[in-house]
């Protein structure tokens, strides 16, 4: 147990907040391990390993080629060092890139055929792979109408997807929801068209590595005009030792469609750090909308910084069509080191990107996270609300880019970043980058108030709060609303987060 009980608490930090942080990061509940026989590819990464992964997934030749190209590029790249994180050098040849439960050697025909040990693993995580209306462990869920509370789950265990629920029902609506390996086999035209189109092969060191060795992940296609009839989600579980997880998610929301997608992730407690390098690509066509929520709860390592997951992830959404909308919501409580910037390319005119993040770092955790809002189209809007909370000896960095291109006339951004330090040995850092290349766009900083409703501000001020206090209160409230809107299936944590206030926040 990583104890927060002993933690130094500075004066002026709200007790509810300390309690919530304690509850969230004090005791890692998912640190147990599933004993199951595994098949491993040999350690290390090279063309043979890439071919092996490709052949395990029964991929067509073009996919193998694509991977090999990526590997060639990756071999010429160097690990980025600009993030405010430090960790021992990773020996990329000392990692297993492919680990599959033996029982998955023959693909289960249905969920009934899946190894009971795997089913039990997910059941224990509160994600039973049954087609039931609601997931277990959700407070108050039984009071909700069953209709509309269905959640389809794709369960990824180490390197493979073990099953996807509700596929048949989704298919009736025209929605494709399956593992990416299945999509490569069954829907090559879609994968070929979109894979790498948002996060190019050579985007960055980890994304390029992922392009070479990704073993599985989720694939979503929502056809034109379809509102996905249920929430979609992927649950990532790392179980095997010394194994990296490299999953790839591809979501395509065709014209006028809508989908809400949630991912959750956990791993056992181990003394040796493990690498998780994922890529998520989202394509949003005209008038379509995607909500992507993450509850990241990888094993954070112990209180001395031993073990934990290195979470080096590239996530990007491309609002390709006019009026396309994307909303990223992330609750980050796990991982030893986080390097992650879910971003929005606002290409279509009037497209919108939103990013809401709460990152809690405790003990020796390090998080360098934020977003990029790239405004390319006219009248594009983006909003960034980020809260970083640090305790113990943790370091929490917000890094964000807002870029207004010459054609992005009349575009707007609103950014608010707050950090809270609990205790005096932790750190919080804010690294904003702003580029504005036209004179009709507006980038608003946290101190400005024009995005906050004037009536709400006046109401607060008439009760005695000064302007700054009033803005903070209203924006925090807004942020809590966003959290409360998170699909709660994976996220008991998120409910606790609602108790967090940033009283005593350092700006």
């Amino acid at each position: 147990m990583t104890a927060l009980d002993k933690i130094e608490v500075k004066e002026g930090v709200d007790q509810d907040t300390v309690d919530a942080v304690t509850a969230l990061s004090g005791n890692y509940k998912y640190g147990w391990e599933t004993e199951i026989e595994m098949d491993y590819a040999p350690k290390g990464v090279n063309p043979d390993i890439v071919r092996l992964i490709s052949s395990k997934n029964e991929e067509p030749a073009w996919m193998t080629e694509w991977r090999l190209q990526a590997l060639t590029r990756w071999e010429q790249m160097t690990e980025p060092t600009w993030a405010m994180v430090s960790y021992p050098k990773i020996d990329f040849q000392d990692i297993y890139y492919y680990a599959r439960p033996k029982s998955m050697a023959v693909k289960p025909k249905s969920l009934d055929d899946v190894d009971p040990k795997l089913l039990a693993t997910y059941a224990k995580l509160g994600i039973p792979l049954k087609e039931q209306a609601i997931l277990a462990g959700v407070e108050g869920a039984e009071d909700m109408p069953a209709e509309g509370r269905k959640v389809a789950v794709d369960a990824v265990f180490d390197s493979v997807s073990v099953g996807t629920t509700f596929q048949a029902e989704l298919k009736k609506a025209g929605v494709i929801f399956c593992s990416i390996s299945e999509a490569i086999r069954e829907h090559p035209e879609l994968v070929k068209k979109y894979l790498g189109s948002v996060v190019p092969q050579s985007d960055n060191y980890y994304a390029t590595l992922n392009s070479a060795v990704f073993s599985d992940g989720s694939f979503v296609y929502i056809p034109p005009g379809v509102r996905c009839p249920m929430e979609l989600s992927t649950y990532f579980r790392i179980n095997a030792e010394n194994t990296g997880q490299f999953e790839r998610t591809l979501i395509i929301a065709d014209k006028g469609s809508y989908v809400s997608y949630l991912e959750g992730c956990t791993a056992p407690k181990r003394d040796v750090a493990q690498l998780h390098a994922a890529v998520v690509e989202i394509i949003i066509e005209e008038d379509a909308e995607v909500k992507y929520s993450t509850v990241q709860n990888w094993y954070p390592g112990d209180e001395n910084g031993k073990g934990g997951i290195y979470n080096f992830v590239t996530k990007r959404a491309d609002c390709r069509g006019d009026r396309a909308k994307v909303m990223w919501t992330q609750v980050e409580t796990g991982s030893a080191v986080t390097w992650k910037y879910p971003s929005c390319i606002l290409r279509g005119d009037d497209s919108q990107g939103e990013f809401y993040s709460i990152a809690i770092a405790n003990n020796m955790q390090q998080a360098d996270t934020g977003t990029k809002m790239v405004h390319l189209g006219k009248n594009t809007k983006s909003r960034i609300v980020s809260k970083g909370i640090s305790a113990g000896k943790a370091q929490n960095t917000y890094r964000g880019l807002v870029s207004m291109h010459p054609r992005a006339k009349n575009s707007r951004n609103y950014t608010q970043c707050d950090s809270l330090l609990i205790g005096d040995q932790c750190g919080a850092h804010t690294v904003p980058y702003i580029e504005v290349k036209n004179n009709s766009s507006r980038v608003e900083h946290e101190a400005t108030t024009s995005k906050v409703d004037d009536d709400q501000l006046f109401y607060c001020r008439s009760r005695g709060m000064d302007e700054e206090e009033a803005v903070a209160l209203v924006v925090n409230g807004f942020c809590k609303e966003v959290l409360q809107a998170l699909p709660m299936e994976f996220a008991m944590e998120a409910q606790a987060l609602v108790a967090i206030s940033l009283e005593g926040s350092v700006g």
Binding site: D454, R461, R463, G464, M465, L473, F478, K480
Partner: protein, 252 residues
């Protein structure tokens, strides 16, 4: 307590529109004054100008609270000085717990006055006791400020804030609007409980019925931005029986 002298105010967005045209009013400590008037007479503008809402400019006249110039102050300074406005339309603030809001407000004012902040425990005790009198249950205290509150709940919530902030000068802007008789009685009881020799009230209302429950010492009739007639409670009854037409005609 409150001295308003020859107050003129217009809309900032449209200087053509003068709403207050020389309003004069003097309220002594412990007094309850009612301002009545037809729609558009400037009642709500008066409450906004006094509490410092943006969008109005004062072109002449003054408003002093215990000898201090209100109009020079920011809204939050006016609040800390002891002014309180119970809103006609209380504002919803999603995601902000009612209790958090109250505590932030109470402590902001205490800080502004150089007083020590109230501890969480003391605050809780006080809020619970006050809420009980106003039949505000624990659930309402936890819910986001005014979000999903019924009309009556919103107005009771205003009175709860008033009770917790302990202002010297309370302005009630059409607090009776949207209330049924029972809700109005509850609100009025809340207000009456706060009446004291050191606290004054300005009750703005369209109808006389609220004044059955909150008995005013003085009643003023506001029309076209000026007080056209002042008197005792009987004036309110006159409005009740004959409407505003007679009074307006008399003034013209």
């Amino acid at each position: 307590m409150l001295e308003i002298n020859n107050l003129h105010a217009e809309l900032e967005s449209d200087a053509e529109v003068t709403i207050l045209k020389g309003l004069t009013l003097s309220i002594k400590p412990g007094e309850v004054h009612a301002i009545m008037g037809p729609n558009g007479s400037g009642k709500s503008t008066l409450s906004y100008v006094l509490s410092g809402k943006d969008g109005y400019s004062v072109t002449a006249g003054s408003a002093m609270l215990e000898g201090v110039d209100l109009l020079e102050m920011e809204p939050e300074e006016r609040a800390a000085a002891g002014l309180f406005l119970a809103f006609q339309y209380p504002v919803e603030i999603p995601g902000v717990g009612n209790m958090t809001f109250l505590r932030t407000a109470v402590n902001a004012q205490r800080k502004a006055r150089g007083e020590e902040e109230l501890s969480a425990g003391d605050f809780l005790k006080e809020v619970r006791a006050t809420a009980k009198d106003l039949q505000i249950d624990a659930d309402m205290l936890k819910r986001p400020v005014n979000v999903g509150f019924s009309g009556g709940e919103k107005k009771r919530n205003e009175i709860l804030q008033m009770a917790m902030l302990e202002p010297k000068m309370c302005i009630l802007d059409e607090t009776d609007s949207g209330l049924d008789v029972d809700a109005m009685k509850l609100v009025a009881d809340g207000v009456n409980a706060l009446r004291s020799e050191n606290r004054s009230f300005l009750v703005i209302t369209h109808y006389q019925r609220l004044l059955d429950h909150i008995k005013p010492d003085f009643v003023h009739i506001l029309a076209d931005g000026k007080i056209i007639k002042s008197g005792g409670p009987e004036l309110a009854l006159q409005v009740e029986n004959n409407g505003y037409a007679d009074l307006l005609a008399g003034a013209a």
